[in-house]
Amino acid sequence: MTTATAPAKRSAATPDLSRAALPLRRRAIDLTARLLMVLAVLAAGVPLLLVIYHVLAKGVGIVDLDFLTADIPVRARVAGPGMGPAVVGTLIITGAAALLSIPLGVLGAVYLNEYGKQSLLARVIRTMADVMTGVPSVVMGLFILVVWVLAVGEQTGFAAALALACLMLPVIIRSSEEMLRLVPDELRQASAALGARRWRTTVSVVLPAAISGITSGAMLAIARAAGETAPIVVVAGTVTWTNWNLFEGNNTTLTAQIFKNAVEPFEAAHGRAWGAALTLMMIVLVFTILARFIAGRFAIKNR
């Protein structure tokens, strides 16, 4: 008898842990929240997938080695490749912009976080960087047009690199400063207690600890710069043959060519625009993967 009653007693005391035991209201809220999250993911993901699908569908048949290297046809209605000048232009202009803005931006962030802190100058620079982040890219293009292109008297790839660098700089400063801020103060103190000077602590401890975040920030800025159109058209003009020289002669980029070809009434031009779009996507993808790889290597060292 006792053995028979014991389990019954226990089960009466056993709490019901099943989901069904929750009040209806809580379950309803839970379900709604889940649905909203799924909707949010779809709202963000579906357009992205559609963009990728369309660019791939229209571009895959067009992009080949010839397309990536051949000159752009002078007359837009002519069918066939290529986008060589724009590929070269994108790489060297974005590359030069990165070379100009990343060292300056990281140094600026080091100044703000390690030296300036809350001083007046640092606060002014921080505010200026925030304001600069909000400057529309076409305005930056006009700015470079006025202070550089008109002064030099020529539209060049370098002018475009300058415009892109000005767009990237505030982003890099702010994202790098954010990363430096995440480095615990204990590390700086530990280094100081060993008799390290501040620059030494910064170079040997703080920057290595923040490098992966700084790299990601810089890569995002590069990807954004590679996608800019307006300032390029304004300060670099356009060109149909490959111009390796940043400092002389017009230049062009993939985004500029996408814009230019897409507004033409000809089927052939549209094809080239799609091809250029796919090429640009691939370039950005390759760089992003490369950046993740580099950041990952540093991160492993850190862990």
Binding site: P184, E186, L187, R188, Q189, A190, S191, A192, A193, L194, G195, A196, R197, R200, S204, V205, P208, A209, K301, N302, R303
Partner: protein
């Protein structure tokens, strides 16, 4: 004010109340007050730090132990608004004289922090860092090994010197930080509650270690653990927080004496109350 006699130990230049010892005085605090902005966190501290001895600082939370400790190697310089009054000498040189470079001070007076703070670098690089910044290039491997051996960590890490210092346990990390501090061969090592995050076994290891280290180094340790102070130190400074006429709390050194005296026969009633757990 329970005792007038203890106050005499606070008066500059009055060394008669302090235990005589053959050990040389390496550092001397004379009437040291430390300020954070306008707030006087510690008032009028006078005490010696003796060579190759372990000096413990004990007292309730917030009485300024860490503040005094940090002022010994000018780590307070890194805190905005922190400044000191009075003098702290190191081999009879004023540490805060205008021509003194705090970097030079910190190279001779090292520090181990309460929370283990290894660099996000390999174990080897953690220890080698101080050597590198001091421009020491010869026999790095040997020096790193010796520091790790002296910190009683070598046997646990010798096979994985290239793995991250952050992958060690808390107690191992703290010993790594000690190894890092002793690798540069400072004269004095300041330790701020080095065992507070550690289990009794790791604590025991570090205490044994301090005994070993005191043969070569002078050690100042802040601890909340009375037994630890009694076990490891030769001298003990008891601090407390006092409220003055203007209702502002200041840290004060109540009593400095050799540890035996402090724990068996303190001069001051407040010391006795604190040690016997009747405090506050």
């Amino acid at each position: 004010m329970t005792s007038v006699t203890s106050i005499s130990t606070l008066i500059p230049g009055n060394a008669s109340a302090m235990p005589t010892s053959s050990a040389r005085t390496v550092m001397q605090l004379t009437d040291v007050s430390v300020f954070y902005g306008a707030y006087e966190a510690v008032r009028g501290t006078t005490m010696p730090i003796r060579e190759h001895q372990i000096t413990a600082m004990i007292g309730p939370s917030g009485c300024g132990k860490s503040t005094v400790l940090r002022s010994l190697n000018r780590m307070n310089d890194l805190i905005n608004g922190a400044r000191i009054q009075g003098t702290i000498t190191f081999h009879d040189q004023d540490l805060y004289a205008p021509n003194v470079d705090p970097i030079q001070v910190r190279r001779r007076i090292g520090m181990v922090f309460q929370k283990p703070n290894p660099f996000p670098k390999s174990i080897y690089e953690n220890v080698a860092y101080g050597l590198r910044i001091n421009g020491i290039k010869d026999n790095l491997d040997g020096r790193v090994e010796k520091a790790l051996r002296d910190a009683a960590l070598w046997d646990e890490v010798k096979g994985k010197l290239n793995t991250s210092g952050l992958a060690l346990s808390g107690g191992q990390q703290q010993r790594l930080c000690i190894a890092r501090a002793i690798a540069v061969q400072p004269e004095v090592i300041l330790m701020d509650e080095p065992c507070s995050a550690l289990d009794p076994i790791a604590t025991g290891k570090i205490e044994d270690l301090m005994h070993e280290l005191s043969r070569t180094f002078t050690i100042v340790i802040v601890t909340h653990n009375m037994q630890q102070a009694a076990r490891v130190s030769h001298y003990t400074a008891f601090f407390t927080a006092e409220v003055d006429d203007k209702q502002v709390r200041h840290g004060r050194l109540v009593e400095f004496n050799d540890t035996g005296r402090i724990f068996t026969n303190p001069n001051d009633k407040r010391t006795e109350d604190y040690i016997t757990g009747r405090f506050g």
